[in-house]
């Protein structure tokens, strides 16, 4: 290996790492606020990429029907819950977020797809984001909120089941073959031996912007502070009037938004399949483990490290690439256990809620 190749590998690793970093941020956000290890985060990325590619060829993406179905299910659950408890005060608000808002998006998407293509770029991006973002809170409402007081391992099992459901639906909806979209920015510049594409800069930029936005949100916005309070101590947050349910929905909204952006960017730089998301999500998860699933900066650093490690390992021993990347888990776990159980999330205390 010469320095030029090392530089190219580093570049490739950083771009891959930026994808992992976005997902790792979402993993930490969801785990700290809801204790859910959200396995389907990667599947949402794949759904977003496939949706974006559908818009590009002027087809109504099948994720519209997933959104409609989930919204219907969530609405049904809300109505049943309200009828059972005979508390109808919160129902109009729930109906607005679970039925009317997603319904409007579905209608908008169907109307737009009737127009002759091509759609302008910004419309394709916005429509994709609008279709993917509501999936987060809706999945939370349907799959997780009814069992939110369960232990971390039970929630993990629900997350795995959700992953298989979403992946299966994606196969039926989008078919088995891969898709690719044109890059958002089709330009590149030369930097010595490196050819840097605008798309890869955009990917790193979106990751940096998301990290900064999350930081500001947690520091400055009331809702962000509430999420932090829930993350630090769920029982305490509840005692001062911060609802765990609402903060869970907000966390899922934010993570789905990150998945939506990641998917749009990835579709423009690689081939995406209905089942692409799982591996991406798994590697991001390994990155997030660097920070014990609770530290944002450590998760970002870990995700970039995984990306670079993967790139170099692919060069040296491509046949053992995944095995070696996941083997990185062993030293991380060892280090975390040596460092001791510190500010981690205590499952026992939480499951009594």
């Amino acid at each position: 290996m010469n320095p030029e190749i090392a530089l190219l590998l580093l570049q490739d690793g950083l771009v891959t790492g930026s994808t992992y970093a976005l997902l790792a941020l979402a993993a930490v956000l969801l785990f700290t606020t809801t204790r859910i290890i959200f396995v389907p985060q990667g599947d949402l990325v794949a759904l977003s990429g496939l949706t974006y590619a559908s818009w590009e060829v002027g087809k109504l993406p099948a994720s519209v029907w997933l959104l409609a179905g989930l919204a219907g299910l969530a609405t049904l659950i809300e109505i049943i819950a309200a009828t059972r408890s005979r508390r109808f005060r919160a129902l109009p608000r729930a109906l607005f977020t679970h039925a009317i808002l997603p319904g409007l998006i579905v209608v908008l998407a169907v109307c737009v797809s009737a127009r002759p293509p091509p759609l302008p770029l910004i419309a394709r991006v916005l429509l994709t984001v609008a279709l993917i973002v509501p999936l987060g809170p809706l999945v939370y409402r349907v799959a997780f909120q009814p069992v939110i007081a369960a232990s971390i391992s039970s929630l993990f099992v629900v997350a795995i089941a959700t992953h298989f459901a979403i992946e299966g639906i994606a196969l039926i909806a989008f078919g088995p073959e891969g898709v690719r979209a044109a890059p958002l920015l089709d330009a590149s510049m030369t930097l010595g031996p490196l050819s840097v594409s605008a798309q890869s800069l955009l990917m790193i930029g979106v990751t940096a912007a998301s990290a900064a936005a999350l930081y500001l949100f947690f520091r400055l916005h009331m809702l962000g502070k509430a999420l932090r309070a829930v993350a630090v101590n769920r029982l305490g947050a509840r005692l001062v009037g911060i609802g765990a349910e609402r903060s869970g929905a907000v966390a899922f909204l934010l993570s789905a938004a990150m998945a939506a952006f990641t998917g749009v960017l990835l579709a423009g730089s690689t081939t995406l399949y209905y089942d692409s998301g799982f591996m991406i999500g798994l590697k991001a998860f390994v990155g997030a483990l660097f920070g014990g699933l609770i530290s944002y900066p450590a998760a970002v650093v870990g995700a970039f490290l995984i990306g670079v490690l993967e790139s170099f390992v692919s060069f040296w021993a491509s046949a053992y690439k995944d095995a070696l990347v996941f083997a990185a888990l062993i030293p991380i776990m060892w280090w975390l256990s040596v460092r001791g159980h510190t500010e981690g999330i205590d499952d026992d205390e939480d499951s009594t809620l």
Binding site: L171, T270, T271
Partner: protein, 386 residues
């Protein structure tokens, strides 16, 4: 207690009713012998790009052959060998399948083959796998196609070759076959790189390959994932020849690869360039018949090579059935043995993707007529001009 008894009563009534109904069905069908064709496909999971077209094709296969009715029972194995074996046992024990079409990937076919041998059920696999006495398959074996590619490399003066394949058993198998055939032709294989179907980047592998300056790169991958290496090679301005196997030949590969695919060389079955086949080509009429039937049901331009393999399984079955039906009646071991014998003796059976000549030592039976070399020009496969 009452409730439970009532439920039991209802269950009994339903069981009795269905017994009577099936009895009627059997007496009604007694005049026409029914051959049960078990079908196992991987229509979900990682191999679904092959499994779904195969499943679609089953609906187009003959329902009536030599006075016998054909009943198809389709099960999905999701590409999982364990599930495939269970499906095969179910088909054999519950449905009394006389023959199996499937499965659709090498590992599942291998797993099912042992059960096929044990239950004496002939199997026509839709993947090239090591056969036993009861198993056959329709796609071209990689060695047949590789031989064509290597001959082309030799003609173009290639002396060094880099291999880039999937990191699975198929990747290993094809690597070993490549090394064997290439060294016989005086070509050195100087790189062995692997990637996964859903990988988002192959930059590292391509960098390593290009640092060794091979005359040609052989991408051993199937379907849309085969496009990613070529896109990366094109981006890095690789000037040598790039070769692909017939597994990459489908419309989606062209769509994802786009302009980067222009000028590649790939082995393919004749069906891939059916419009360019001359009238004297034996495969042409069968290939056109298949395309017409498939496109009529699933939309213009939807017929692909994977579906053609399933169509040919139907062709083989229809060719072997008359002999077997003359010897024994369906549903018996004697019939399955007769069907196996008949399949093994098929000669000059023309399919949509080649001509089959079976023998005791060759349970695929395709020859060089099932192989063409193609390239891509303006988003379509065209014959490679020598």
């Amino acid at each position: 207690m009452h409730k439970r008894e009532a439920t039991r009563g209802i269950a009994r009534a339903i069981a009795l009713g269905s017994l009577i109904l099936t009895g009627f069905a059997q007496t009604a069908g007694a005049a026409v012998p029914t051959v049960t064709v078990g079908v196992i496909v991987g229509a979900t999971g990682p191999v679904s790009s092959i499994g779904i077209p195969v499943k679609n094709t089953i609906a187009l296969l003959p329902r009536m052959v030599a006075g016998a009715q054909l009943r198809y029972v389709i099960l999905d194995d999701g590409g999982d060998p364990g599930v495939a074996v269970k499906a095969m046992r179910e088909l054999s024990e519950q449905d009394h399948a006389d023959i199996l079409i499937g499965s659709t990937s090498v590992p599942t076919c291998v797993a099912v083959a042992t059960v096929a041998l044990e239950t004496q059920t002939p199997e026509i696999g839709i993947a090239p796998f090591p056969t036993n006495a009861y198993t056959f398959f329709t796609p071209q074996p990689p060695e047949l196609m590789l031989a064509g590619l290597i001959a082309d490399m030799k003609a173009k003066g290639v002396t060094t070759l880099a291999y880039l394949g999937f990191s699975d058993s198929l990747g290993d198998h094809n690597y070993q076959a490549t090394v064997k055939l290439a060294s016989a032709a005086g070509i050195r294989v100087i790189a062995d790189e692997r990637y996964d179907r859903t990988d988002t980047t192959v930059t590292a592998q391509v960098l390593k390959i290009m640092s060794r300056h091979p005359d040609a790169v052989f991408v051993s991958a199937a379907g849309t994932p085969a496009a990613l290496p070529q896109l990366e090679l094109a981006r890095r301005d690789y000037r040598g020849h790039v070769y692909f196997l017939h597994g990459a030949i489908n419309a989606e590969f062209l769509r994802v690869g786009g302009n980067a695919l222009n000028g590649i060389t790939a082995s393919a079955g004749p069906f891939a360039i059916v419009d360019h086949l001359t009238d004297d080509n034996p495969v042409r009429s069968q290939a056109l018949r298949f395309r017409e039937a498939y496109d009529a049901k699933y939309g213009p331009g939807s017929a692909g090579t994977f579906a053609a393999y399933a169509w040919d399984a139907g062709v083989l079955l229809a060719a072997a059935l008359p002999t077997a039906l003359a010897k024994a009646s369906p549903g018996t071991v004697a019939f399955r043995v007769a069907l196996r014998d008949a399949l093994e003796q098929l000669h000059d059976v023309v399919g949509a993707d080649g001509v089959y000549n079976m023998s005791a030592s060759n349970h695929n039976g395709l020859d060089a007529r099932a192989r063409v070399l193609v390239t891509v020009r303006a988003g379509a496969f065209v014959p490679l001009q020598p």
